[in-house]
Amino acid sequence: MSSKIERDAHGRKQARYAPWLLLVPGLLWLIWFFYLPLYSLFRMSLSTKPSRFAVPEFGWAWSNYSQAFSQYGAQFQRSFTYALAATIVALLIAYPIAYVIAFRGGRYRNVLLGLVVVPFFTNFLIRTLAWKTILGNQGPLINLLQTIGVLGPNETLLRTPLAVIGGLTYNFLPFMVLPIYVSLEKIDPRLLDAARDLYSNTWRGFRKIIIPLSLPGVFAGSLLVFIPAAGDFVNSYYLGNAKTTMIGNVVQDQFLVQNNYPIAAALSFVFIAIVMVVVAIYSRLLGTEEIA
């Protein structure tokens, strides 16, 4: 018995109903526990509270959004700036690692990849606290930098924007390494020989062949770093100061301290909207559409 199923160039079947059977459980879960809450958050963002501890009432309160824009512009800006800085630094650190593992890793490729991920099996907070020890004011790093003269005698590393960006970079680094690695690994290695033959100076070969082919990975990695970094509040809490607060801190404060759910919700949506715009622009720039 042979089945004459229509397959397209990728070997995929043309079908009407079968795929939905497989998709339904996941979609239902996402709809109930992501999209529905998102909808309720949206309604919350258009509500007002008559007093601090009352239940919010829906009322098409667009003023929440104008307030979100006008009052917290600085925090939004700061969040995206820090996230951008963290993404760029992460890219600079991650690319060589991914490159070396993909092209020179050989038998040890998986081990090396594992080594990249393993530090992140420890707890997020403990790693941040460890950084506090490393960057601490009595620590060796400060002494070194002060001896060299990079830092003044009264300057510190902790509780500065630099520390926050450093923390963000570190915490999301594997999300940059892994996608770039996957992209690089897919490159047919004979292209490397071709690059070497065509461009005896390998930098040009690198620039003209490797970099463009790794762009999907760079794209995915940048987004996987930028987005969570922009929404983070823990790094700013532990490593920052009163002037480094990010949008995440504001949302947390509004939700938990001020009990002002409508404003917190409005801020969240403004954040998502900005992120979507950034993603759209970025994907246009790079010419790729997929994230995975």
Partner: protein, 293 residues
Amino acid sequence: MSAVVGGAKKPREQYGTVTSPAGRLGRFIINLFAAGGLLYLFLPIFVIVAFSFNQPVGRFNAVWNRFTFDNWLHPFADQALVDALLLSLKVALISTVVATVIGTFMAIGLVRYRFRGGGAVNFLLVLPLTAPEIVLGASLLTLFLAPTMLLFNISFSLGFATIVIAHIMFLVSYVALTVRARLRGFDWTLEDAAMDLGANPTRTFWRVTLPLITPGILAAALLSFALSIDDFIITYFVSGPSTTTFPVRIFGQSRTATPPQINVLSTMILLVSISILAIGTLVSARRTKRDTA
């Protein structure tokens, strides 16, 4: 990716070897940066492991005092910490299993078939990943706490169930996309071959398709497990008064004390994951030898 295609026979890392001095310099620099990067990755880990052998002065394990094995002799001294770790493991196990099953189905559905609405499903899958954790946490909190905001009037009380629900939610997208990426090059005509040989669709799926995609599924499951264990922000928002996971416990406790047992337990987790990695590599190395022998 193998270099066996097209009859070429060298191992991958010998492609693109450069002999020019500029090339060699470039290679050296890249290796240096990569090594530096790995060192950077492990710097805090060294500190964490080192401080697990510290005898702290007072309640905070922040300043090196003196070396001791005591902490390793009593790793479970902090009962609340151990309970929190146990809870995290339970949550991670359940959420990973459920999310992996659901996510794999979705991935297969997306890759194996071409159908109307595939693009839309793709978008629906990706959006949760692009929403920052605080939004995920906040919106779930709104769902669980303010049922009057919804269409139905079901309400949840914050606790174990809400944490698991939240974890499954964000893990499903990761699993689906990871498995889908691995399935990209999968040759679905194998299924036709199997059915030509006499297998029915179910048998084909279990005996042919599933074993081949299992490595991808496992990789996704591992990733999910790690993500669930370490999740802080979402869990912080949706956990109840008596359901404290490991990261949340450390956060709360870090305000009054940081016992070295935290470092000990974290180092243990690290050692376990490294061992698994090592075992996996050894087994695959043996397999390769056996297969090519």
